[in-house]
Amino acid sequence: MDYEFPLGLAALAGIIPLIIVYLLKPRPKQVILPSLMFIQKIGQNVLDSRRKITKKITDPLFFLQLLALILVSIAIAGPVLDDISENSKKVVIIIDSSSSMTVPDRINNARSAAIESLGEENTIIAAESIPVILAKAVDEANAKELISSMKAKNTPSDVPKSILTVVNDKENKDSRIVVISDFENWVGRTPETYIKIANAQNMQLEFLQVGRPTPNYAIVNGYLKDRNDGTYEYTCTVKNFNNKSAKLDVQMESRSGMFSTQKVSNSISLDGFGTQQIKFTSIPQGTSTVEILNKDEVPCDNLAYISIPEVTPKKSSY
């Protein structure tokens, strides 16, 4: 059984002092009795078992307190009750369709995992930049066919948004939500938060990670700024999706009908999962590209295009 706050179970340690308190019995009263022989006779008959019991705790108050302590501890820990059966009839499968899933075998593994998770009534959602509902309430055979034909796209993904979309749909109540992704790029609250949100809506949320860590560097953001002198300044954000640091070579190449082609290179060092901004100045009008020259498993996010309309001077007669 899972707990929201497993440390709450530490309150169970309170049982130890409780037992000690009850074992430390007060000093017995002393009674001088001439007829001890009868007490000993009772001992020979039934007292043996009772004596053993007296070494244990017989006070019903102890058991009440013990029960209260256990209940309080469990309440603090907050058990997550799996009242949704594993083989739930309704299954919602969210498959990450971002470019990171183009890594060989990732999408295949995702398909296999999705097919294994199918239920009687299946909804398939592709987590792209927006959630794309590929199928709703289809049977297992149709769902399997659809999943088999799924491909990753050169798009970013917003898995959290897809989850919230599913959770907020009341038709998905009592469903099992299976999220299949490489989880390389997660933007949003922590996965645990989404699990709690889903559980609150009586849904079961599972995360299935596919693929092994592979080298992946990407230009994740960029913007252009006009310098009002006919040139532009481009600032892009480069991210290292590996847990190892890497030295990246970023090259900007400008092609313009008015100017000669120019190449500017820049080298940066990124720590594991680190990001850094690179600024390229004096970008002429025309089409330019910014490219990470290092080879990785996801090449589509290594290239950024900059297109600045060419304004050619026109001669006019007044």
Partner: protein, 293 residues
């Protein structure tokens, strides 16, 4: 009484003046006295005749019978004997219960003194022997002076040891030569076999068993509850136990079984058995024993 350990109530003795001690069996004491005996001798009551044998005293010949039958017969009279009362008083530590006055020993002594008083008044012999591990046996007494001395002895005697009734009976068996009235006053908190053996050994005498008890001994007081360490007053043995209503019930049953066995022993030997609470007035207890109540 200076230095008295045990408080003996003698205030009721004068009320016993009008009572006497009935005997069921004829006594066989050596001394001549007021009680009928099984012996033939120099009494006043004619029992029977027997043929004259040479050597018999001539004065015992019934000459009237000779005149009618022309045969010599000797007249035989029932000999008057003294009563020999032996009171066996339990002086084991268990008799010191309860701690309040009177305890069982003081009450037993008071009863013994009461019975002795009746015996003393008829100039019969009495003896109060205390027993615990051993018997404290003195010779039989007679008369008022000895009676006062007996009270004094009982009030200063030290009460301790364990009840060993069988051993005491073995000792007394050879000591009490004539057929006597033997009164055993005890709480009988002893092994039943030991009690049976003692009764068997003394059964040739006119035996009376007097069992003394305190109510708190049978029904444990309400204050005795929870975890209690019981200490035996004789052996100092300790038993710690959780006391509740069920335990008290079992205890009463066990005590009752012991008393029933004592009753059975008395029934088997056809001897009187009295159960007397020490809360009773001593005079009532004495009158119960001598059969007046």
């Amino acid at each position: 009484m200076a230095g008295a350990k045990n408080k003996i109530d003698t205030s009721f003795l004068t009320q016993l003046d009008k009572y006497t001690l009935p005997l069921k069996n004829r006594v066989t004491a050596v001394h001549a006295g007021n009680h009928i005996s099984t012996k033939k001798g120099a009494g006043l009551d004619l029992v029977d005749h027997r043929k004259y044998n040479p050597g018999d005293p001539l004065k015992k010949i019934d000459w009237n019978l000779y005149a009618r039958t022309e045969k010599l017969y000797i007249r035989r009279f029932e000999e008057d004997k003294n009563l020999n009362m032996v009171i066996l008083l339990d002086a084991s530590s268990s008799m010191l219960f309860p701690e309040s006055n009177p305890n069982k020993f003081e009450y037993a002594s008071t009863i013994a003194i009461g019975v002795s008083y009746i015996v003393m008044r008829y100039n019969d012999q009495y003896m109060i022997a205390t027993f615990a591990d051993n018997v404290d046996y003195t010779k039989a007494h007679k008369g008022r002076d000895e009676f006062l001395r007996t009270i004094d002895n009982l009030s200063t005697i030290s009460v301790n040891g364990k009840t060993k009734l069988a051993d005491c009976a073995d000792v007394l068996y050879s000591r009490i030569k004539s057929k006597s009235m033997v009164l055993i006053i005890s709480d009988f908190l002893d092994n039943l076999d030991s009690i049976r053996h003692a009764v068997y050994r003394l059964s040739r005498h006119e035996l009376i068993l007097v069992h003394l008890y305190d109510e708190n001994e049978i029904n444990l007081p309400e204050t005795v509850d929870g975890i209690v360490k019981f200490i035996d007053s004789e052996t100092n043995e300790e038993v710690s136990i959780s006391v509740g209503p069920q335990f008290k019930k079992e205890y009463v049953e066990e005590y009752g079984r012991h008393m029933a066995e004592l009753d059975k022993i008395a029934y088997d030997f056809k001897i009187p058995f009295f159960n007397i609470s020490i809360k009773n007035q001593p005079i009532d207890a004495v009158l119960t024993i001598i059969g007046e109540r």
